[in-house]
């Protein structure tokens, strides 16, 4: 079984294939950029300072201190919640688990927000009133 044909110059098939593969590479990158929840992070801010940026898929409980005391933030199964809060109204705790958007505890000045593509619920909207 000798070589198939003696001409080993680049064939038309080669060119088409290479073009297709480059096309596929580039567009798979673009596809990933658009579709995947690329780098979804949980940002935890307290009293105006960014304290943590954590990947959403870890399981972790962190404690942050605000003016009223310690707020406990829990990350589990790609969701996040405020588990305990020293504030009075506990609106943040009642919000429960979230996968996108943010939980904000105004009294204790804690902002837990989820960034990244997965959070782009309203990608074309620059602000929300109401």
């Amino acid at each position: 079984m000798r070589s198939k044909g003696t001409n080993h110059n680049t064939t038309f098939g080669d060119k088409v294939l290479l073009l297709l593969l480059v096309f596929l590479s580039v567009y798979s990158f673009i596809f990933i950029k658009e579709v995947m929840p690329e780098g979804s992070d949980i940002r935890i801010e307290a009293a105006g300072k960014l304290l943590y940026t954590l990947p959403i898929h870890i399981n972790k409980t962190v404690e942050v201190n605000g003016p009223l005391g310690t707020t406990v933030v829990e990350i589990r199964d790609s969701r996040v919640r405020i588990k305990e809060s020293p504030c009075n109204n506990k609106i943040c705790v009642h919000e429960g688990w979230v996968r996108s958007g943010a939980i904000i505890c105004l009294p204790n000045r804690v902002i837990v927000s989820i960034t990244g593509k997965a959070n782009k619920k309203h990608e074309d909207i620059d602000g929300i009133t109401g």
């Binding site: 073009l19 480059v22 580039v26 105004l106 902002i111 927000s113 074309d124 909207i125 620059d126 929300i128």
Partner: protein, 337 residues
């Protein structure tokens, strides 16, 4: 073949890395200030310039928050309230500005927006579901009238005529702060951006691609994740504020008690579910959205037309009313009653 191929690869790499040096990009930052979440979004070609400008704008809002806070013991507003019935209080230009505009709006809305509602709103607590006693309400209502708020431009003083009167700038301060923050941004070399103090949004300039900013209006009866937005409106160099009965409320015996109180009755106003007002300045959108809400859909619309403002009203049956001026700029997502 070879040439097209190289061009294609170059284009593809460009698309991937978005190789456009000096291109305007969005910088966004949120902070808790004025007892709410304030988000500033700016478009700038330099991250450093954007950060510095945004920081300056936040400091301006912080400053205003300290002056105008109804609850802080050391604010100018608290000082005015403490001196009610006894003496005029010298205040900063900013505080005077806000109160002056508040009185203007009160005048235009026939008292539907009234900053002297303080004594009555203090009787309600929407977290603990506390309603005022009938007698207490009647008693405190007597203290509510913006006509008894006297400002003296020349001496920069504010005086509340009756003892026990209290002004609460919560319905106008955030809009004013958004305006001021936008001015600070412009003076710091930012050409376009958004200042959103909770629901009070002030836009200036356009998005990096030259289009208007898209602002979503919250659905007052949201049921899930997919119907959060009632409509999207395109704005540039305009402000929008929304007042809604869904922001702070409790339901008792099937009745929704919400935080937008009618200064005439001291009780929640029931004609609307949500009112959005659009005009150049946030200080007016903020105050008028409350005033129009209290007046109800019919009279509210009349006032908007008279003032030359734009607005969207969701009435108590879920119907959406809007002024002629925004019909081409708005996209209504859904109308679930």
């Amino acid at each position: 073949m070879k040439k097209t191929f190289i061009v294609f690869i170059a284009l593809a790499i460009c698309a991937l890395s978005s190789c456009n040096p000096g291109k305007e990009s969005i910088y966004k930052e949120s902070r808790i200030t004025m007892d709410t979440l304030v988000t500033i979004t700016v478009s700038s070609s330099s991250d450093t310039v954007a950060k510095a400008a945004v920081d300056k704008a936040f400091r301006e809002i912080d400053k205003l928050g300290k002056l105008l806070n109804f609850f802080a013991g050391d604010s100018e507003v608290t000082l005015i309230n403490k001196s009610a019935g006894s003496m005029p209080v010298t205040v900063s230009k900013e505080t005077l500005d806000v109160i002056e505009r508040a009185l203007h709006v009160a005048d235009k809305t026939e008292g539907a927006f009234d900053i002297s509602i303080g004594p009555v709103s203090s009787l309600w607590d929407f977290h603990t579901k506390t309603m005022p006693e009938e007698d207490a309400l009647k008693e405190k209502l007597k203290l509510v009238s913006y006509k008894n708020v006297v400002i003296d431009r020349k001496n920069s003083t504010v005086f509340l005529k009756k003892k026990g009167m209290m002004i609460d700038l919560g319905g106008i301060a955030k809009g004013y702060a958004a305006d001021r923050a936008a001015e600070v941004l412009k003076n710091s070399g930012i050409k376009s951006g958004i200042v959103a103090a909770a629901g009070d949004i002030r836009t200036f300039g356009t998005r990096p691609d030259g289009s208007a900013w898209n602002i979503g209006i919250k659905n007052p009866r949201q049921t899930g994740d997919d119907d959060e937005i009632l409509a999207v409106i395109r704005l540039s160099d305009q402000a929008i504020s929304t007042s809604g009965d869904y922001e702070r409320y409790f339901i008792k015996n099937g009745i929704r008690y919400h935080h937008i109180l009618d200064p005439k009755t001291g009780r929640p106003a029931y004609g609307c579910r949500s009112v959005s007002v659009i005009t150049k300045e946030g200080v007016f959108t903020d105050a008028f959205s409350t005033g129009v809400f209290v007046l109800g859909p019919r009279r509210g619309m009349e006032i908007l037309k008279k003032m030359g403002f734009d607005g969207i009203i969701v009435d108590s049956d879920g119907n959406i009313l809007m002024t002629e001026g925004i019909k081409g700029k708005i996209e209504v997502k859904g109308n679930k009653p």
